[in-house]
């Protein structure tokens, strides 16, 4: 089985490396080339064009968003280069609408499509310990399973339509936004009574909320460490909007998403869009006039 891999950023590069180490042949392509040499050293075939990388049985893409995926996989001609019956596994976080377009394209062009976004940051990717959220034809998933086993600790299956994995990933990110906003408001509340937010957050993330999402973001809020950003507030807002769009497609009101959106806009108005997503906590603090 030959694999094509498009998108070698902080997530894609360690994922491709793991596939190479597991013995797979991997064609690689990336817009910037800094990630290329170490992968070539592991045996990757560096392609000059996405369409060359698509000369494979399974094409994996791990790109920034809808628009970059559209450019690199579709507009570049890579998809057109896929052999009939080849499988494209899109592991990025993309919109429901984009997912539906790719499903339609797959039906029209004769290739196969799986959505398989992941949970886990780049160190988790490097350890092959991602959680893989997948949806699509179970036979295709069976075909992809050996690869998922290399990349992740567990594969979660959400149904036969790729959009089902997309909505699960968007819902997970929406819940991260909720966790940040909840900590932001609670921190402002305790601070009103002269309790340092760091004291409150240290306690709450060691007890009721001792989960990765809370520990990570709680630490950043506690120390107001919003730069350099791991994931910007602006990108967080983008994900909230994708969740809202998904919800509107099925008539699901999301009042928490509305609050997060309004507060994120407040943050953007105050020049905080390029800070870490956790800087959303500045909004609750500012509205309470706390220094």
């Amino acid at each position: 089985m030959r694999i094509g891999f498009l998108g070698l950023g902080s997530m894609g590069a360690p994922m491709a490396a793991n596939l190479l180490r597991a013995g797979y042949q991997v064609n690689i392509w990336n817009r910037s080339t800094s990630a290329i040499p170490p992968l070539v050293e592991l045996g990757a075939l560096h392609c000059q064009h996405p369409a060359d990388a698509a000369q494979c049985d399974v094409l994996i893409s791990m790109l920034a968003d809808d628009s970059v995926t559209q450019q690199v996989v579709v507009d570049s001609g890579a998809l057109a280069a896929l052999e009939s019956n080849a499988l494209w596994i899109n592991m990025a976080t993309v919109s429901i609408a984009f997912t539906q377009q790719m499903v339609a394209l797959a039906a029209a062009k004769g290739f196969h499509y799986l959505a398989a976004p992941v949970l886990g940051r780049n160190n988790v990717a490097a350890a092959g310990q991602l959680n893989i959220l997948t949806a699509g034809d179970p036979q295709l998933i069976a075909r992809a399973q050996p690869l998922f086993d290399v990349l992740g600790q567990k594969t979660w299956y959400f149904g036969p339509q790729p959009e089902q994995a997309a909505v699960v990933k968007l819902s997970a990110n929406f819940m991260l936004g909720c966790a940040i906003e909840a900590m932001a408001e609670a921190s402002a509340l305790v601070r009103g009574y002269q309790v340092p937010a760091a004291d409150f957050l240290a306690m709450i993330t060691a007890t009721l909320f001792n989960a990765p999402a809370y520990k990570g973001y709680g630490e950043l809020i506690a120390h107001e460490k919003y730069t350099p950003p791991g994931f910007t507030l602006r990108l967080g807002l983008k994900d909230i909007r994708l969740a809202q769009a998904a919800a509107e497609g099925k008539n699901v009101p999301l009042p928490f998403a509305s609050v997060i959106k309004d507060n994120s806009i407040d943050a953007l108005a105050h020049g905080e869009g390029d800070l870490e997503w956790a800087a959303l906590a500045n909004v609750a603090k500012r509205r309470s006039n706390q220094s």
Copy 2:
């Protein structure tokens, strides 16, 4: 050191038992008497009146709320019976306003007051593994520490004013409400795409949100198991209102609390007030017209 213990419900009874097992002399009183015999067997002195139980060095109360605490500890004459320099440790979840009144009363009457609400359900109380959230004069806390060491796994200190522990406890409960509402909305979202909420919640509470708060409530939402209630939606709303009152006292906007309150009222309007708090998830489901 003689201890008085008022309030022997599902939390108070195992806490008193632990103090007895640790060798303390404990005067006990409770409105209903079903919890009395096993404690007497452990050596407790059963008092006929709260004021009798208050013949002690340290009075601990673990009652339902402001109003029951007011009746049992204040109106009953128990406080008046406290010896000068005695210490009252209030371990219940009460309002900021009530806490401030008790602090004023302590100053006027010459007794000492500590707020020490806890995190943990009754099984945790029985295991002596509570997390104790305390605030007040550090010398008083030093006096209480041996008791806290019996009752809990850890004592967290939030400052010299008892209201600081009260606000931390209210903030923790507010964050629980946020977690429930976040899961409620996300569940409605994935359900819109034919992903069973149980599948989504199983995944998310095993990964990003693998914390007690999420696992417990997530399980209830996944199986829509809202009866018998461990803690009712109506009581959840009451705690949200206490958090709102605390926030308003210091001019802190809490838009997430507003959403939870409005949705809780929707639930009450639909006869769901006496279901488990997690039944808040019915609101997102109903608004999306999901069956």
Copy 3:
């Protein structure tokens, strides 16, 4: 028919004057006495105590709120001085809970109670052109009608329970808050595109929204004229809370009220509580970082 009139502030004084001019005998009492002389000149009997003023057939009160009404009418002994079968008409804006307590008190003590809050500022009161919102026993209203005809241009009847007039008045004030917030947000929106808010508000209050509520508050927002206040933001928030309490009593979610409350708290946090209610527009402006 002898009338007792308690509360001679900017509304009560012109109302009492109109009753005197219409030929009624009026006993008057007020905490401060500046309003007394001109009314005595019109024939009023100045009483030294509320209970003296209550020697009458119809007692009218026009006091600031629940608590002042409680003090002046109930705690002072005025109610106790009312003859059996006398009628108390409360024309102030009070809570549902207070109204229900007064209804219960009337039943227990043998006097009669009508709620009759009004719409209109003091110039409207002076012109006898108030809109009178009333509810209660129709026979009592028939008894009060000649007085209402002196005080107002129209009497609106909302049902046999006094609380029905109270909720109508609270709903009207809630809608004023909504109008202010709507103009606040729309003003921030147009300002984002360099359209002066004054230009937008002049147009919209001359066309779709050419109503007194919009014209009055629109003018204040347009020129950011928030001092001296006619009615403070703090009092506006108080009315919003009364509307929320009324709604919670019947399980009615009011998400617009929640937004107004959160934004009002933001205003209070920034020291704007004693500005005119329309200063709520500062919140939308500040959140958008507009100068």
Copy 4:
């Protein structure tokens, strides 16, 4: 001066008729032809294609939305057929983004562009009593003024950028949504106390809120007369989204718009999207479980 007029719906037809009656030569085109004969009778030249109608000095379009305007004016070739220096006046409600695109197109192609959306329904259009909200180069507006004087009672000027008129129109529609939601919530509140919403709305729209926006929508809510729709809830939601998009473009949080959006989605989930916009009141009623 020869005028081209594209879009002869319920608004466009009476507007074109007024121009003809005022003596202007008018080229007309419309997708459906039912509106054509009476206009031809008034002297209009019926064109077979938008591009034919665009043989004129001033092109006026009054089409449903961005996408229809794009199709009929741009994609059809009508714009390309405009003579250099001709003026296009777009009187429809369109997005900020579309407006900006048209401004860029005008600069690129050498024609002139004015935004001039209107306030008023079709009977107002027929009477030549529209309020015309315009923005753009003052010299162009001077050129258009004689036409505006025929079509409307007043022209309101909001600045040199066409997007400034667009945002004013979107803000006006947003305020209509706020008025509907405010009446919806207040109606649910009074109904909770057995006050008929119709009684409350009759009073409030005759007093504080005696403005066209409130009277019209208030009447529909009072009698729950939501069909046939004058303007559907779905289209109302579309306008709210355009206001939100405009606000996000300038980082202006609009929490009232968020509430309206969430409630509109609730309505859509319950099959109410094709009812009159005022049917938004069903949401507050349903959430309160009122029948």
